[in-house]
Symmetry: C2
Subunit: 519 residues, 2 copies
């Protein structure tokens, strides 16, 4: 049989999405009974990816090319009586703002695939994409005007305190439990409970996933990474209680649909350790599916509640940490870097807010302090917000508008991070600073093998009226005092040898010192 030649969009930018949609079988269960795959071949890569059934008799295959130039492709599978197609397309240079997927760079840090450093400033809005359209648009508008460049959110709807409403859509065919009886007092009784639900876990609702894709695309256009939480325990529908086969079908479907989006990160689960129904073998199996089927190698991690996953596992690209101590979070980055030998992303360090629960009630000052404590140790802090208000919308769950005082300060931090003369920061080891007057202070420098004369001190709650510095007798140093709360940079001039710098004697001050002309 001759393969048919099809003409599609014949141009796509590097790290864009090339998509083929084909008619196919409607009979039986198209989600389980048939296959479709594509083979893509350019000068520098040759990849086979699985497609998916998108409903209405349409099967799709998506591909993200990582190089410029001419590609050929072939489609095959059991999805149609006459399934085989081939064709070519042209990959053009990445457009402005498209730097490719984020990768681990320099062991503890990140960069886009084009080499541009990426300094993660994350936030969490678990089910922002499953709220009303109006609220979703508002969230995007808020994100557009923020410093956030990563957002964590769920594929499944979420059943949890302060978030008992019906989601925008459901991922499966069927009917949900009647939620009219839900109250804050009884919601836990419904957790993980499939009673009252009637789902066909073998039939996805493509609209649910297509909608999430639109939101991933929206985020991409804002330059924001979509850290997708694939599984989670906050569930009144039974999605957290599916069988191995159902889980695997879900994973395959999710990967086939989402992995061509360059801004996707994979979070296997939120608080995996609150899902006793899943074993370590299960998590490792999902990971192996992901490693096999996501041919682009997007970033992968898994988020804990009380007990961190073993982040040294080879499939894990970076730590996705929830702090486990009521007081310390960012302060422990150096310890975690040493233990896990990977980038340390702090996805939950208690949220700014005023709810009664102790993971959601720190003030903006403390949130911003935790951000800086993490950042100057070469870690990547994450935000969330849980303010009670008349609209009953908590950013952490619903998105909407930000009510806290910390987010606007993150733009200042991000600016400072982007000015790092290298791929990222690392805490200077006190013993490395034997000649320095301030050897007991928290100081970051450039995380590189060769020392770079760049020092970023962060003083947190300390209110010194001055500090003394001494690096060497030769170089001339520029000194700036940064107020991380008021977001000001005060240039103090240049110094040589041992020198004193007057400070404002208040909290949340940083000092940036670098060889003259370095920045």
């Amino acid at each position: 049989m001759m393969k048919k030649y099809i003409t599609c969009t014949n141009q796509v930018q590097r790290w864009g999405i090339f998509e083929i949609a084909l008619e196919g079988n409607r009979g039986g269960n198209p989600f389980t009974d048939y296959t479709i795959q594509g083979e893509f071949c350019g000068k520098n890569e040759h990849k086979t990816v699985e497609g998916f059934y998108d409903g209405d008799g349409v099967y799709k295959v998506r591909f993200m090319p990582s190089f410029e130039g001419t590609y050929t492709f072939q489609i095959s599978g059991s999805y149609a009586q006459d399934p085989e197609y081939h064709g070519t397309f042209e990959v053009t240079p990445a457009e402005e703002g498209n730097h490719g997927p984020v990768r681990v760079a320099n062991q503890y840090h990140f960069a886009y695939e084009d080499g541009t450093p990426y300094y993660s400033i994350g936030t969490t809005c678990y089910v922002w994409a499953l709220q009303t359209e109006e609220l979703q648009e508002q969230t995007l508008e808020t994100l557009k005007n923020s410093a956030f460049n990563k957002i964590r959110f769920c594929i499944f709807p979420k059943h949890y305190d302060y978030n008992l409403n019906e989601p925008y859509s459901y991922p499966y065919e069927g009917t949900p439990v009647d939620s009219s009886v839900l109250t804050r007092d009884n919601f836990m009784a419904y957790n993980g409970c499939p009673k009252g639900n009637d789902w066909d876990y073998t039939r996805f609702r493509p609209e649910h996933f297509a909608h999430l894709e639109k939101r991933i695309q929206d985020l991409m256009e804002l330059g924001i990474e979509a850290d997708l939480i694939v599984m989670h325990p906050y569930d009144r529908w039974g999605f957290s209680m599916m069988s191995k086969e159902e889980d695997d079908l879900y994973w395959n479907y999710v990967i086939a649909r989402f992995c061509a989006y360059r801004n996707v990160w994979w979070s296997l689960a939120n608080e995996y350790d609150l899902m006793p129904q899943k074993s370590l073998e299960d998590w490792e199996r999902y990971a192996s599916i992901l490693c096999e089927k996501d041919v682009y190698g997007h970033l992968r991690s898994i988020h804990n509640c009380h007990k961190m996953y073993d982040f040294t596992r080879p499939w894990i690209t970076h730590c996705s940490i929830q702090r486990t101590d009521p007081y310390l979070s960012g302060e422990r980055v150096t310890e975690w870097r040493e233990r896990y030998q990977k980038p340390v992303v702090l996805d939950e360090i208690v949220y700014e807010g005023n709810i009664e629960l102790n993971w959601g009630n720190i003030p903006g000052e403390e949130m911003n302090r935790r951000f800086w404590e993490a950042a100057v140790r070469g870690g990547y802090p994450g935000h969330g917000e849980t303010y009670l208000s008349k609209d009953h919308l908590l950013w952490w769950s619903h998105g909407g508008v930000l009510k806290g005082s910390s987010p606007k300060r993150f733009a200042f931090l991000l600016q400072i991070l982007k000015e790092t003369p290298g791929p990222g920061l690392v805490q200077m080891h006190p013993s490395a600073k034997v000649h320095m007057a301030t050897r007991e202070d928290l100081c970051a420098t450039v995380d590189s093998l060769l020392p770079v004369p760049y020092y970023l001190y962060y003083y947190g709650f300390r209110c010194s009226a001055f500090k003394e510095y001494y690096f060497d007798d030769e170089k001339e140093y520029e000194v700036e005092v940064l107020d991380t709360w008021d977001m000001t940079i005060t240039k103090c001039g240049t110094f040589r040898g041992k020198f004193q710098v007057p400070l404002p004697g208040k909290q949340f001050i940083a000092v940036r010192i670098f060889e003259k002309g370095l920045l």
Copy 2:
């Protein structure tokens, strides 16, 4: 030879000082060549104490009676040709404000000997008593108007950054190093260095000690415990470098002079681990002298810099801790209580101030937060202050006036502690609160074997807009919201069963809940 009968002040209050002064030998070295001791006998105690040479041919013996009633005494020794005296005196009831020496009570807490609970709120002014008379009087006036009921200070003068001036007096006969050449930059070169000093370590200057006694007495009259630091490393005179024999002579002299003051506590050293010239055997030897010669068993501890002394040693009555972590201090009280099984006093948790050194630059809010974190875990926090100002007086070293914002808040904490319906607080173990909605919150209760329906929650930097509580279904509870910064108590009424309490949504809030009528 007949013993002579002498008439002295023939009345002394319980825990007051009964003192006998006798003429004796002036020849040779009266500090080392002769002895004097007194034997005191009342209905309930029989004690022998050593006296001391007070200069000008006068020898003294002091005694603190612990019981009321008639006492007899006998003086003996080699101090005079005809040394033996006897007599009687009457011990009257303790006067108002005199509760006796402070003792360990209920394992982790303190009480005066008359049973009145003592909740230690300490401060540190290392050499306040060796400044000008005017400044000393000012310090006493400041203390009088403060909540402090313990002050740590040194017997020896102190040589340290921000404190390079000559002391009020010296403890030995001789001449000190010329201090006119001292600068902040070179002061460390003089540390522990006897060069340029000329002292006779066998001849005390009694005026130095008599002056300190006056200050101990002044503190006693203010109801303040004198936590005497007997040795320390900050020294340009050589007092930290004496021989074993010289050290022992010093210890014996100090004990003979000071131990009859009921408000004395013994701190063997400040930062003992910064004195490598003293071995563990030395510290244990000093302790054995103290245990033998201080017949009243005043409280005894030893203060660390980096490495805590083994506070489980039997001679140590309580921990005297310097925090060893840049972030956590009071938060670790429960751990220390469990490890050392003794009262936990936190004598240094970083000082409120604005100096460049990281042990002296936290703001008042953080100091007060640390106080509360310690106190609600049943620990006893201590203060110090290091604000730079034109007068060059730092409370931590010199005394004077307080410039910080935390001290006046301690009066509020002390009030709350004094209202504890029992001997002290203990952190409730989360597992003890299975029925409580707020089981993850930091909560203190009364430290007693039988549970007392008294709960003191402290929320630190957490800004909840409300909290939910649930103890039982039967009892009626009174609820008060405490603002530990604004020092207000807001009564919220009485509640039963599960109930919500609105909170102001700001930092530094505590909630006190107790069975109706308990307080």
